[in-house]
């Protein structure tokens, strides 16, 4: 067909949000990053790979609009177009929810590849929200990635698991296996950062974590009450009321698109007088 091309071919970049450990903020980050990219005008889709434990739909606030899902598409029961949910706030953003009733064996490498290839024709950014762990679901979420955001808390088990995941990104992905292409570009997103605890020597610093993991830093997300508040109402934190967490995600998103944004630690406001007097003794 030789009608004129669209203004520009879509970028079609696949970014996996992963971590190994659960509960560190993968889905929160996947929601915030995809909404942030869409807000900048990039056509973005976010896919939930956590088959059986669907949660991205709730964080995105579209849980009541799910009809078909990722697994339906892979198994040929629905067209991709039928399963994609258009975000009501941003017309550049779509969500591909996962199944709540199947399990991870319903994902096949060929099926995932076919869906991603189709999405690449239309979207600039394809964000894959990985399940916790390092098994099938997590491996398939990372397998086709061009870039990876490894969500890490400044805490020993999270850092250890992130290290493990970085090892898998460097060996068990299509880019790693092909040998000819560039490796997956992996970056750390440090979440639940608390400057107060760092000052008291109770939390590893950003530098500590980076020294251990030895990959570039995408951003520092402060521990913030805005995250729970946003998930309560089903709004990606970046679209909710301005907060230090939403600003930090905004910075991270800009860096993801190649902008050079200075790293800042935008922690939540200092504790009150009482806490400052008595909260630091131990």
């Amino acid at each position: 067909m030789t009608t004129q091309m669209k203004e520009e071919a879509p970028l079609g970049k696949i970014i996996v949000i992963t971590s190994g450990k659960g509960g560190v903020g993968k889905t929160t980050s996947a929601a915030a990053i995809s909404a942030g990219l869409a807000k900048l005008g990039h056509k973005t889709v976010v896919i939930d790979f956590d088959v059986g434990l669907r949660n991205l739909d709730m964080i995105m606030g579209c849980e009541r609009r799910v009809v078909f899902d990722f697994i339906n598409v892979i198994q040929g029961d629905a067209k991709l177009k039928q399963a994609l949910i258009k975000d009501k706030r941003l017309d550049t953003l779509s969500i591909l929810p996962t199944s709540q009733t199947r399990d991870k064996d319903a994902l096949t490498q060929e099926g995932v590849e076919a869906v991603l290839d189709e999405l690449k024709q239309e979207f600039d950014y394809i964000i894959c929200d990985s399940p916790a762990g390092i098994e099938r679901g997590a491996q398939l979420a990372m397998y086709f990635a061009d870039e990876a955001v490894v969500v890490t808390n400044p805490e020993v088990s999270s850092v250890r698991d992130s290290d493990r995941v970085l090892g898998l990104l460097a060996s068990k992905t299509r880019r790693a296996e092909s040998g000819s292409s560039e490796p997956v570009k992996a970056q750390v997103l440090l979440t639940r950062h608390d400057q107060g605890r760092i000052d008291r020597g109770e939390m590893m610093t950003v530098e500590d974590v980076l020294e251990i993991l030895a990959v570039p830093l995408l951003g520092i997300i402060p521990e913030s009450q805005a995250v729970l508040r946003a998930s309560n109402v089903g709004t990606p934190v970046i679209l909710d009321d301005p907060s230090n967490a939403s600003r930090a995600y905004g910075d991270a998103v800009a860096r993801l698109t190649g902008e050079d944004v200075e790293m800042r630690v935008g922690d939540e406001p200092k504790p009150g007088l009482f806490q400052r007097l008595f909260g630091r003794s131990a």
């Binding site: 805490e155 020993v156 850092v159 250890r160 290290d163 493990r164 090892g167 760092i198 020597g201 109770e202 939390m203 590893m204 610093t205 500590d208 020294e211 251990i212 008595f278 909260g279 003794s281 131990a282």
Partner: protein
């Protein structure tokens, strides 16, 4: 924490530093001698058995391969149990070989 906690509790070492030190030690091992080392052990054992069998008759479980990791050195221990022979054969003792690797 109590209001007077500072008066009674001795100053604790900064726990963040402990976390970092533990991680660095652990990950150095997991990266350098994690899965790959373990993976080749069964194959090594099979290969050793084949070589030894060229010269001596040994049973499948007479060759034992063990890997041990310590702080800055890992050791590979290979134990070969030789069959006891009739006394006209020279006394065949169990031989122990040990190879060190950084």
């Amino acid at each position: 924490m109590s209001l007077f906690g500072f008066a009674f509790k001795p100053r604790r070492a900064k726990s963040a530093q402990t976390a970092k030190d533990r991680l660095q030690l652990l990950l150095a091992h997991e990266r350098a001698s994690g899965a790959p080392d373990i993976e080749f052990l069964p194959q090594l054992q099979a290969d050793l058995l084949a070589v030894i069998r060229k010269y001596v008759k040994v049973d499948d479980d007479d060759v034992e391969v063990k890997m041990q990791r310590e702080d800055d050195v890992s050791s590979l221990e290979i134990n070969v149990e030789m069959p006891a022979r009739a006394k006209d054969d020279a006394k065949a003792e169990s031989g122990t070989g040990s190879a060190k690797k950084a």
